[in-house]
């Protein structure tokens, strides 16, 4: 299951209605998201990162009454994650100087980036697999057309056409949504 806003939101709402399985599934989906979030912002050992992830999961669980189901789930989640990180720094900074705090602060907007990535995932899921794979390789991961074609085991002109058609379909889709 892909961890996009719709999936997370509906699992959260089911959990709030008392569905323990949905709640467990939600927490499992959050683990990689939170690991990525903290790895990019807090430079600590893997243990530190895992501590933060666990603390956040506990907070998501014990403070789920603070989630309003009409609002965006990921905004709620990342607000908790950010609070937990600041709290973590506050505790740690009493013991040792904060290193790389500037980098952490520079990483503001990361949350938007994660949300954007979730959006991209959702949009690409609408396309045929080959087009999605080629767009992801060339536009998201930054491979050259030749590298992407080789990785995908197809010809370069085939790759080019796939990217072109895929982007065109997405464009039509986005313009359609905006109307």
């Amino acid at each position: 299951m892909r961890a996009d806003e719709d999936v997370l939101h509906s699992l959260m709402v089911d959990g709030l209605d008392g569905d323990a399985a949905a709640h467990a599934a939600l927490l499992r989906l959050l683990v990689p998201l939170l690991r990525g979030f903290y790895r990019r912002r807090a430079r600590g050992s893997d243990d530190d990162i895992e501590d933060l992830v666990q603390e956040t999961l506990i907070a998501v669980h014990t403070r789920r009454a603070s989630y309003d189901r009409t609002r965006t789930f990921t905004a709620w989640l990342f607000a908790i994650a950010r609070y937990k990180m600041i709290d973590h720094f506050r505790r740690v900074s009493r013991l040792r100087p904060i290193e790389g705090l500037e980098d952490t602060l520079m990483a503001e907007g990361e949350e938007d980036a994660v949300a954007a990535r979730l959006d991209v995932d959702r949009l690409l899921a609408l396309l045929p697999a080959k087009q999605a794979r080629m767009i992801r390789a060339t536009r998201v991961e930054g491979l050259s057309m030749a590298e992407a074609a080789e990785a995908g085991g197809i010809g370069e002109s085939d790759a080019k056409v796939s990217v072109h058609r895929g982007l065109k379909a997405l464009m039509a889709r986005i313009v359609g949504d905006a109307r």
Binding site: L16, G18, Q54, L57, R63, S66, R69, D87
Partner: protein, 213 residues
């Protein structure tokens, strides 16, 4: 404990959460605290003996309208600050409405009263004790709200503390109306508000310490 085990443990107890859980939880904390405050007031200063007669008059309802509408405004702010993603607050101006209305009544009162009696009207009989009593009565309510926040997720702790203090103070002032025999609008506007403001300040001071999670 590894993360998988943690998730299994957490998922063993998944209680349903109803819509509007934030407001509901704050109201429960507020209600429990207010019951303690009312009991405290009855034991400490006593309920005014002419309460029923006073409830037939204008000033009693003016005081309740002022304090309860202020509490309602504080409640809407507290609900927002109980959410982690409370970047933008809406309805802060609501808290100004009761103050302005009461100030309006105060001005009308002053116009109808000879200037020689203004000071007596302003100070009443209990100006020295009124703010302190409101502050004291607010403490059980503030404690009740701290309990409410234990399952909520405020991330702006100072602001959340101030909002909870405002709510506790305003509701405590409403409780205090059960005792207080003062009748003038400018008395309430000054001394009640002073007690409410003091509670809010205390909340702002204590918030970062007490609301941390």
């Amino acid at each position: 404990m590894n993360t998988d085990e943690l998730i299994t443990t957490l998922s063993q107890e998944v209680r349903p959460v109803r819509r509007g859980a934030i407001g509901r939880r704050l109201l429960v904390g507020l209600g429990l605290g207010a019951m303690v405050s009312t009991g405290l007031l009855a034991l400490w200063t006593g309920i005014r003996p002419d309460l029923l007669a006073a409830m037939a008059g204008f000033t009693f309802w003016m005081k309740w309208a002022y304090t309860l509408s202020l509490a309602l405004a504080a409640l809407t702010i507290s609900v927002q600050l109980a959410r982690p993603d409370s970047a933008k607050l809406h309805g802060l101006w609501l808290a100004a409405i009761p103050v302005l209305l009461l100030a309006g009544i105060g001005v009308l009162d002053l116009l109808r009263t000879p200037p020689g009696e203004w000071l007596a009207m302003w100070l009443g009989h209990s100006w020295k004790s009124c703010p302190w009593r409101v502050l004291a009565l607010a403490m059980p309510i503030f404690a009740g709200l701290l309990w409410s926040f234990r399952r909520l997720a405020p991330t702006r702790l100072r602001a959340a503390g101030a909002a909870a203090g405002l709510l506790a103070g305003a509701f405590a002032a409403a409780v205090y109306c059960l005792h207080c025999p003062e009748t003038s609008a400018i008395f309430v506007l000054t001394w009640y508000s002073l007690g409410i403001l003091a509670t809010s300040l205390l909340g702002a001071l204590l918030g970062p310490r007490l609301l941390r999670w």
